[in-house]
């Protein structure tokens, strides 16, 4: 048997149900096909409202399909780990319609039809208001780049801060399929995820375009447009907050990369197509290690934000 708990309330006890053996087998089968949607705990940054479902085995015959010690958390809404998380949550909620309230759950939090309907509505709202291709994550050390080696310059924030950023699914079609967009938007447009059709130049939007093709100057111009150095966090109202990387070919040109949800980095060399491979044709898992052709100098990691991308020209 499984216990399913809806992580929804802030003050009241969360509602929970016990799903019997038949329902549990159905649930475990669905969960084993969707391990990538499950977490060990509630993700950092989860807010108010329907946050997810706890699924717990109540016996050693019902652990298959669950990671860890027979317990898993299915995040929904902004913290969902995949676009099919709402469907899985809906299926689990439907299974509770034939279930009993879990022992120990207070009477006023016991399951009923109106509560399930409310959960379904919250689930639909949380899914509808967020692009299904975007996730908010903690910019921790596993997102790539070696923060210790790039926080050495004066004024850099360190990795001690916990910054939340948004990761989009890699969507090259937006940049590639329309010849006007492809031709008139460059690496800075792509990194900012903002189409201007002007081949945007760092600093032009804020009135102080870069004056030299050096890391210092292009960095200054990008910060002027509103970017922050990595670990200098942007607040939630500045969503989307993208993790980007700047490189230069000294005295020649600059180039930008943007971290995608899939784990690799995307980029757009000038008016050519956006892609996720480097000059050697290899997927870019770390721009520090990628074949960047003449762009030999790595300037650092930064965050773009909503204000910044609206400012670029």
């Amino acid at each position: 048997m499984l216990r399913v708990t809806a992580d929804v309330f802030s003050g009241r006890t969360n509602p929970a149900w016990v799903i019997d053996s038949a329902g549990a087998r159905t649930a475990l089968s669905a969960l084993s096909d969707a391990r990538h949607l499950l977490a060990d705990d509630v993700p950092a940054g989860a807010g108010l409202g329907f946050r997810g479902l706890w699924i717990e085995a109540l016996g050693d015959d019902a652990t298959g399909g669950l990671p860890g010690p027979g317990r898993a958390y299915l995040p929904v809404g902004p913290q969902a780990l995949g676009s099919s998380a709402p469907d899985l949550a809906t299926r689990l909620i439907e299974l509770t319609s034939a279930a009993e309230p879990a022992p120990g759950v207070a009477g006023d939090a016991a399951a009923d039809t109106s509560l399930r309907d409310a959960l379904a509505q919250q689930l639909e709202l949380a899914t509808r208001t967020l692009p299904t291709t975007q996730a908010t994550v903690d910019d921790g050390p596993d997102l790539g780049g070696a923060p210790a080696s790039h926080a050495a310059t004066e004024g850099d924030a360190t990795a001690a801060a916990t910054c939340f950023i948004e990761l989009n699914a890699f969507s090259p079609g937006f940049w590639n399929d329309n010849s006007t967009i492809r031709y008139n938007n460059n690496c800075y447009n792509y990194a900012s995820n903002w189409r201007t059709d002007t081949f945007a130049q760092p600093g032009l939007g804020c009135g102080s375009m870069y004056g030299a093709l050096t890391c210092d100057e292009v960095t200054r111009a990008a910060l002027c447009d509103g970017m922050h150095r990595r670990y200098d966090c942007f607040p939630d109202p500045e969503r989307p907050r993208y993790l980007v990387a700047l490189v230069v070919a000294p005295g020649f040109d600059f180039h930008w990369y943007r971290r995608a949800r899939e784990g690799f980095w995307g980029h757009k060399p000038g008016g050519t197509e956006a892609r996720n491979v480097d000059n050697s044709g290899l997927v870019i898992w770390d721009p520090l290690l990628a074949d960047r052709g003449p762009y030999t100098e790595f300037c650092g990691f930064f965050y773009g934000c909503n204000s910044q991308r609206h400012r670029i020209r």
Partner: protein
């Protein structure tokens, strides 16, 4: 048939690419050479990496407006042109990058010295 072309040196990622104009005899010669290039293998593709990628040729109309689409793209021994009847891409061979070298030489003196050196080195490498 255009009387004038704008040639874009496709070399940058962030900065706008430098350009130069080909007109008069040069424009006529370019048109003639493009029309006589042999076909290339269909699986060939122009360069799209960071660094120098090639020359993009845009036709200019009598009013001086530059067409947004490419009349031709010359890249590492390959020339991509639209089929005049269907608009589909046709792939042609530019053996020894002879056309690309000839075209670049027409406007190279007007370009920044660093850009000129980068492209000349690439053309010399074959």
């Amino acid at each position: 048939m255009a009387a004038e072309f704008e040639v874009e040196v496709d070399v940058f990622s962030g900065r706008p690419n430098p350009r130069f104009t080909v007109s008069g005899d040069g424009a006529r010669e370019l048109t003639k050479r493009l029309a006589t290039l042999p076909a290339a293998r269909s699986e060939a593709a122009p360069r799209d990496t960071l660094g120098y990628r090639g020359l993009r040729v845009h036709a200019r109309d009598p009013g001086g407006r530059t067409a947004t689409h490419d009349a031709a793209v010359l890249s590492a021994g390959l020339v991509v042109v639209p089929d005049p009847r269907t608009g589909a891409r046709r792939l042609l061979r530019d053996d020894d990058r002879a056309l690309e070298q000839w075209l670049f030489a027409i406007g190279s003196a007007t370009l920044d010295a660093v850009v000129r050196a980068v492209v000349e080195r690439d053309l010399a490498d074959g």
